[in-house]
């Protein structure tokens, strides 16, 4: 670690800010527990992914510009969202002012813990004696290499499995189609609501078939979508964001 404590700009996706603030708080507390100086730039809104994915390249470029200015002063930008990190790190126009210097410093929280902090232990021991089924979210998986995608004939690795191995008592499993999309897809979930829900139902059935008590992932939007279907089904399976386990809150 450098002598000067590194300064983290906390990037909280708009949907996490508005709908699942507990995931943002867990992320903040986890980073603070590692002794980091974390700031939350108050002017942040949305990274612009919904604009980009709906063809508004002008609006998306403006969002990229905003983001690059807002986070310019931090050593690292860290977010509890593999999808928003994929968008900001992989799809911003490369010539956005300030972006070239910022881009390599944008991290999803698990990536940050593993690749920047190189953590070998959690800040405080966590005992979570439950079976969890890992949900690989597509953008984290295929754009950020969070695990080896099942389509690729490459050696298997999985970031989420590696970090959850630091949790005591936990049992990890994954569904049979280990990385099929849950059907959230941003505005897809409204544009194509029927396909979206059909995909989510199948994904939940896959996770449930493992006998797990929790679906655990690193992308809040997929979890929100599956959570909505689970509540409709009155199922016992629950979704958890990985930071909720790592900071010990889910164990309580």
């Amino acid at each position: 670690m450098p002598c000067e404590p590194m300064k983290i700009g906390l990037f909280i996706p708009c949907h996490v800010n508005a709908l699942t603030p507990h995931i943002a708080i867990a992320t903040l507390e986890l980073l603070e527990a590692y002794g980091l100086d974390v700031d939350y730039p108050m002017a942040q809104t949305c990274c612009g992914q919904p604009l980009f994915n709906n063809g508004d390249l002008k609006g998306a470029a403006a969002a990229a510009h905003r983001f690059s200015q807002l986070f310019a002063g931090y050593d690292y930008v860290v977010a509890p969202s593999s999808s928003c990190v994929s968008h900001t790190a992989c799809h911003y126009p490369p010539h956005t002012p300030g972006y070239a210097a910022l881009q390599p410093r944008i991290y999803e929280i698990v990536e940050f813990l593993q690749d920047v902090l190189n953590v070998s232990a959690l800040p405080k021991p966590v005992y979570f004696p439950h079976k969890v089924s890992i949900h690989q979210s597509c953008h984290g998986l295929r754009q950020r290499n969070h695990a080896t995608a099942s389509e690729l004939m490459l050696p298997y690795q999985s970031r989420l499995e590696r970090i959850l191995a630091l949790v005591d008592g936990i049992t990890l499993t994954q569904p049979q189609r280990r990385d099929e999309c849950c059907g959230f897809g941003g505005t897809f979930c409204v544009d194509e609501a029927d396909v979206s829900v059909a995909m989510g139902q199948d994904r939940i059935a896959g996770h449930a078939a493992t006998g797990a008590e929790f679906i655990v992932g690193a992308e809040a939007s997929c979890l929100m979508h599956m959570g909505g279907i689970l509540r409709h089904q009155h199922g016992t399976l629950r979704t958890l964001h990985i930071v909720e386990i790592l900071n010990g809150k889910a164990a309580a």
């Binding site: 909280i12 800010n17 508005a18 604009l51 508004d56 897809g185 194509e192 609501a193």
Partner: protein
């Protein structure tokens, strides 16, 4: 013929009404994806092969004029007649001209998505020529007067019971006998008659080899071979992107093609047609039909690397749960959702949005077309052309404005958290998000921003 006015989201909703059938469709096609994985995993060099195939296609597309001219010269030297068609209409005219000159009454065809794209069958039928599709799946959909729902497995949307009924009606098979072997034998017996009585055969082309002037056709049923060898006249129709430079490049693609398409190490037949059989005549029709426009577009030219294996369809979670008929273009799934909008963004815009951007298609594609990225790029064309779903552009522009105004943005979130919990159940369940079996998120008391201000904000 395909209904090209179909809207993906609405058609998919209809398809999903029959839940049992939709679930079967998903499983049947996933099985093919699984077989693909098993086969690909047996080649340690799989990812290297994909990269090599990408490079060969990329090189060829950037020298397409050179290789097409070389191919034409070699084919002519082999005694093959070569024709160039700028569009579908010219292709159909050329084919009809050749057939008419030979007084052809009956044409047997092997599978060719290009002739589907050109609408060749109805064109010839209205001019008095009987067209018999000889690929079993194509034959099935032809008898049902349908378009193929998949480019490799044209009848994958049908269960054997439906095919049993069809064959009973059309081919006189025994009522209630849905045994696949029995039905296949019945189709084969029927098709043999057509092969023997046809005046001409038309095949598609999987690969055209510039170095030799030969075309290569891959099938599992041998129908292309019968169609090309029995009648005295053979026409091969090919898109201009099918050319590869040398024979030695072919094996890279044949190793990828069947493994990607159906999870088999190879197709049963990989047939090279270099010249007409003695006493016969062979023609090749090279078709552009919008391909050179795509070649000129930086965001989309890579789609021309496609070898039509269909792996992107098999892996696509949306395709599996909506079937080929939910897509307005003749080629469905991820590759169709870039090719269709490239051809006509207004007509095919809904295809570009029938995608969660999961990116699985990019990873199975044997020639590494960035399909998911192309679909998102097509959305920008839809946005600019005003071809988005009704009311959507306004919503996107409103979001664009909100993004620049943090206070307004936060205010909107606060309003949502206040209003949603007090929505009457009836209204709530009518919201597009929750309608088909999903609850709206539970609304927290405050946003993270509010929490931060109370708990962390430095004075």
């Amino acid at each position: 013929m395909k209904d090209d006015s179909v809207n993906h989201a609405r058609a998919a909703r209809d398809f999903l009404q029959d839940h049992a059938h939709a679930s079967w469709h998903d499983s049947a096609i996933w099985w093919v994806r699984h077989k693909r994985d098993v086969q690909a995993a047996q080649l340690p060099e799989w990812e290297g092969l994909r990269e090599l195939a990408r490079q060969i296609k990329a090189h060829t597309l950037s020298h397409l004029d050179v290789y097409l001219q070389e191919f034409e010269a070699k084919a002519r030297a082999n005694g093959v007649m070569v024709h160039w068609a700028a569009d579908a209409a010219e292709h159909n005219r050329i084919v009809h001209g050749i057939l008419a000159a030979h007084s052809v009454k009956k044409l047997v065809k092997s599978k060719s998505m290009l002739t589907e794209e050109c609408g060749l069958n109805p064109y010839l039928e209205t001019r008095g020529i009987e067209v018999i599709d000889t690929d079993l799946g194509e034959r099935i959909v032809q008898l049902r007067h349908e378009a193929p729902s998949h480019i490799v497995m044209p009848a994958i949307h049908l269960k054997k019971e439906q095919i049993g009924e069809l064959f009973q009606r059309e081919l006189g098979t025994a009522a209630g006998n849905n045994d696949p072997t029995y039905l296949t034998h019945a189709a084969r017996t029927n098709l043999r008659e057509h092969f023997l009585s046809a005046d001409a055969g038309l095949t598609g082309v999987n690969f055209a080899i510039a170095e030799t002037g030969a075309v290569v056709v891959c099938t599992n049923e041998g129908n292309a071979d019968l169609g090309a060898a029995l009648p005295p006249l053979h026409i091969a129709s090919m898109g201009l992107e099918k050319v590869i430079p040398k024979l030695e490049h072919l094996s890279v693609f044949t190793r990828l093609l069947a493994r990607s398409a159906i999870g088999s190490p190879t197709t049963t037949y990989t047939s090279h047609f270099e010249r007409a059989r003695p006493g016969g005549e062979m023609h090749i029709v090279i078709v552009d039909n919008g391909r050179s426009d795509i070649l000129g577009r930086a965001d989309f030219y890579e789609s021309l690397r496609c070898i039509r294996c269909g792996a992107c369809m098999n892996t696509c979670p949306v395709y599996r749960r909506s079937s080929g008929f939910s897509y307005s273009y003749i080629i469905p799934g991820p590759i169709g959702s870039t090719l269709g909008p490239s051809r006509d963004i207004k007509k095919h815009a809904s295809m570009a949005f029938a995608c969660t951007t999961c990116g699985s298609c990019n990873n199975v594609c044997p020639v590494k077309i960035p399909l998911a990225d192309q679909l998102v790029a097509q959305r920008a064309r839809a946005f600019d052309a005003g071809a988005m779903a009704k009311g959507k552009k306004g919503g996107v522009l409103a979001l664009r404005t909100l993004l620049g105004h943090p206070k307004l943005f936060e205010l909107a979130g606060g309003a949502m958290r206040k209003i949603v919990p007090i929505l009457p159940e009836r209204l709530n369940s009518a919201i597009p998000y929750s309608r088909p079996g999903r609850e709206l998120p539970t609304m927290p008391a405050q946003s993270f921003k509010q929490w931060w201000q109370q708990n962390r904000k430095k004075p």
